[in-house]
Amino acid sequence: MTLLETVHLKKYFGDTHAVDDVNLTIAEGEFISVVGPNGAGKTSLCNVISAHLIPDSGKIIFKGRDVTHSSVIERLKAGIARSFQLVNLFDDLTAFDNVALAIFSREGKIRNMAALAHRDREVAIEADTILDQFGLASKRNEPARSLAQGERKLLDVALAYALRPRLLFLDEPTSGVSTREKDKIMDIIASVVRGEGITAAIIEHDMDVVFKYSDRIVVMHQGAILAQGAPDAIRNNDDVAMVLLGSSGPDAFSRKE
């Protein structure tokens, strides 16, 4: 079943065609990767789908409803959540408070000013469970600013996940961390996302990661979709290799390694 569909979606910045006539379909339960060289329009696409940017034209259909003109909060309620490429956290709040805040918001309890936040047992249990799932339990009481880069990346994803979305858009969840940490982060994300049956779209540069974890890969180039398909099909696509690696031929991706 189709969860998200974009129809002739366009977003231009002057002469730059950041999102150029994109028709993207994401099925329920899919784990897709969006790849492409720098400036291909991956983050812009994520921004338009999450209502961070308003598209110039085209439509965004989510669960059969047109959400093109709905606000960030309306899209969150519908079930679209995202993380950020440059980590976006509440730096002076603890890791626990960061996650708890997302839960309070989701539950509609965030307006409450007559009760102590730490006294809400249900929220505390859920927040601790999520921190545990993301391997951050030991950092519970640390302010977000004092976490290591890899942990901050995970907390950023945990924050979006705590909103219990139907579609989770992750903008480069492993950028800026070491190769070894990348695998750890991706293993955690994949196990949480697959375990809960959440539909996920990740933007990623590292093709090893992409080939390993995705059901389907969408390749963007100059704002448009160049190719899409299963990892094997993309691996053997000469156009894709040319755009991403600058060389083509059989096993271009393996040679690169």
Binding site: A81, F84, L93, F104, S105, I110, R111, A117, H118, P143
Partner: protein, 334 residues
């Protein structure tokens, strides 16, 4: 302390600490003279204003340079309802004054929260100066620079049970009013503490730390800022309401921008990143200003120097720096 409690300073310890301080404050007037009692009353009153102000600065990350507007609205509303409607009950004055402040804070806040940073600060400043010029120019209503007198003898406390007629009434007023203010201060502090540690308070801190992400976890940033603005205004208004009977007179000075500056000053002095900072700062500032005025005619210069030294040497304020030193000492002795 906002952070200390977040990481789990047990609630019973905070309650114990607060209870001890409250007992000391309750005993203090028995140990010091009437003048010191009056000074402390002023300090507690200003502490309520600073607490309100800091909900915006420390918790929401918005620096208002116009909180004189809400202090002044509270004070002038009390002056109007006692003079023009013959109200004697202090409780009615509080209710009326808070309503008046809420209306002004709701209108000004609605305009100001559309902006942040310097634009927010300038707007709050400009709007407060509109009120100042009204108080200044509409002298047939406000008495202009002469202000409006509010004799304490016209007022009664606790629903008319305590009044101040006859011989020795001023002395009685000073002590009765101290305890009255102390109760209002204690209740205000508890309410503000709960707000600061509620889910709503956490949402304000989230907005302070990262507006974009706050939106992406589903917080309507502008609406929350507006609500914080109104709460902040009401607290500062309450401070102005309590201040009027003690001062006996309200003049446009309390609507003028330097008075907003004093509220900023006392909050920074105490430390705006801790819950108790504004309280300590307000009481300390009140003594500082009183003794500066008594000791030199260049008292503004003295206060200015203190502020410069403070910002450079103790950026975390009195409370923040003390907490840091205590933590260091704790590690050192271990």
């Amino acid at each position: 302390m906002a952070m200390a409690t977040a990481t789990g300073t047990p609630i019973w310890r905070i309650t114990m600490g607060a209870a001890i301080i409250l007992v000391i404050l309750a005993i203090l007037p028995q140990l010091v003279d009437a003048y010191q009692t009056v000074l402390l009353t002023y300090g507690l009153i200003m502490a309520i204003a600073a607490l309100g102000f800091n909900l915006l600065l420390g918790y929401t990350g918005l620096l208002s340079f116009g909180h004189s507007a809400y202090f002044g609205t509270g004070a002038y509303t009390v002056a109007f309802i006692t003079r023009d409607f013959g109200v004697h009950s202090m409780e009615l004055c509080i209710v009326g004054g808070m309503l008046g402040t809420l209306i002004i804070a709701a209108i000004f806040g609605f305009v100001c929260v559309r902006h942040t940073r310097i634009f927010f600060g300038i707007l709050t400043l400009a709007l407060s100066q509109v009120l100042w010029s009204l108080a200044f120019k509409f002298f047939w209503v406000t008495g202009g620079t002469d202000g409006i007198r509010i004799p304490y003898a016209n007022l009664s406390l606790v629903g008319g049970l305590v009044d101040f007629k006859g011989a020795g009434s001023f002395h009685r007023f000073i002590y009765a009013y101290y305890y009255y203010v102390l109760v209002v201060f204690a209740v205000s502090t508890i309410i503000m503490w709960v707000i600061a540690h509620s889910p709503f308070g956490k949402a304000l801190q989230a907005i302070r730390d990262n507006e974009t992400r706050a939106r992406f976890v589903g917080i309507s940033v502008r609406r929350y800022r507006w609500i914080a603005f109104m709460i902040s205004g009401i607290f500062t208004g309450l401070s102005g309401i309590l201040w009027v009977p003690l001062n006996g007179l309200t003049t446009p000075d309390i609507l003028y921008w330097p008075f907003s500056g004093e509220i900023v000053f006392m909050t920074v002095l105490g430390g705006f990143r801790s819950f108790s900072g504004p309280i300590v700062g307000a009481i300390a500032f009140n003594y500082l200003k009183t003794y500066a005025i008594a000791s030199t005619e260049y008292w503004q210069l003295l206060l200015g120097v203190v502020l410069v030294v403070l910002v450079m040497a103790l950026p975390a304020g009195i409370v923040g720096t003390t907490a840091r030193l205590a933590a260091k000492l704790g590690r050192w002795t271990k």
